[in-house]
Symmetry: C2
Subunit: 196 residues, 2 copies
């Protein structure tokens, strides 16, 4: 089984996100946080899926794989929110978060995570898509959430695993953990190709 072979490898997660740390740990993977300091910009002509995949690869772009062995597996993920074909990033401030949540209210949007797994001499990228339907949320509810939860580090200005996710979401279609920031089942499948 895959889990038994994890001990043969060192895993490096190139993400500061506490949600990703929690999920990777929950999958039974012991890992080290590996910092990456890249400017998260992308070419304008990319489609949303390409943006997510591009950004996940970009996070690994300043790693010198020559310093590592095939036993060292790097994982990077980038999650974006897409409404009517337009990529919504992280809010600039609390007012921007309120504006984003107003825009998402009552509508279905798409959450896309690009996921890249890489080791010395090998890199694989894939993506996961989840549709998320927001209920009609009132301005009072939005302000209550933004004031109390400060969702400034989150694309689309909400955390599906927080108060807003409990009361404001009617349904999702796809992977829930993708919306949280890491498509865990997809990662499990991809690791099957890397772990020996």
């Amino acid at each position: 089984m895959l889990t038994d072979k994890f001990a043969n490898h060192n895993f490096y997660l190139v993400s500061k996100s506490p949600r990703r740390h929690e999920l990777l740990k929950g999958m039974g993977i012991n890992f080290t946080y590996y910092p990456s300091d890249v400017e998260e910009s992308y070419p304008e002509e990319l489609t949303p899926v390409e943006v997510a995949e591009y950004l996940s690869q970009l996070k690994l772009s300043n790693i010198n794989f020559e310093e590592f062995t095939e036993k060292d597996i790097f994982i990077a993920c980038d999650t974006i929110v897409v409404l009517d074909g337009k990529v919504i990033g992280k809010p600039r401030n609390e007012e921007d978060a309120v504006r984003m949540l107003r825009e998402l209210s009552g509508k279905e949007h798409t959450v896309i995570s690009g996921l890249t797994v890489a080791t010395k001499g090998r890199m694989k990228t894939a993506s996961s898509k989840t549709a998320v339907k927001f209920a009609e949320v009132s301005d009072e509810e939005i302000r209550h959430y933004v004031n109390n939860y400060k969702p400034l580090d989150k694309a689309g200005a909400y955390g599906v695993q927080e108060w807003f996710g409990y009361v404001g979401i009617e349904y999702i279609k796809g992977s829930f953990y993708n919306v949280m920031g890491l498509p865990t089942r997809l990662l499990w499948e991809m690791l099957g190709d890397f772990v020996r």
Copy 2:
């Protein structure tokens, strides 16, 4: 806003499930656990939705509402797993859990929660349905999960918020928290009718 009016009420959750406690707390509701000791059986002729709704009402059946006021709001929920029209309960032991997970592997099943909110003189019941698609999971993965997580208290023998939920589920369609045991958005809507 609803949250502001919660202070006017006492909430009682008629469930021992730690997942339900966590979710209700996450919704911002302070509550007291109220024990209910009923035999969870139901008439054979009921449909799966009727079973879930019936069992959620049954959990409130031995409460003497005369001892309470309209300010006291009781919440009961029952979650069942349905495969090919057949209700799957909690596993009797570890071997039974392995058997259930083998049966669910590679297929889509339905999780239904019946939710009842009641106060002196008033009771309302509704339900939430979520489709859950299991990946093809190996016997080794199933045994790893059952041995390490002992999912004997869970309908269908899995917890969507545990290792199995991370690696073994391809997608869901509906409310994630319904699969975890409490359809939080539905409860939020229902409380709108009870909270003043």
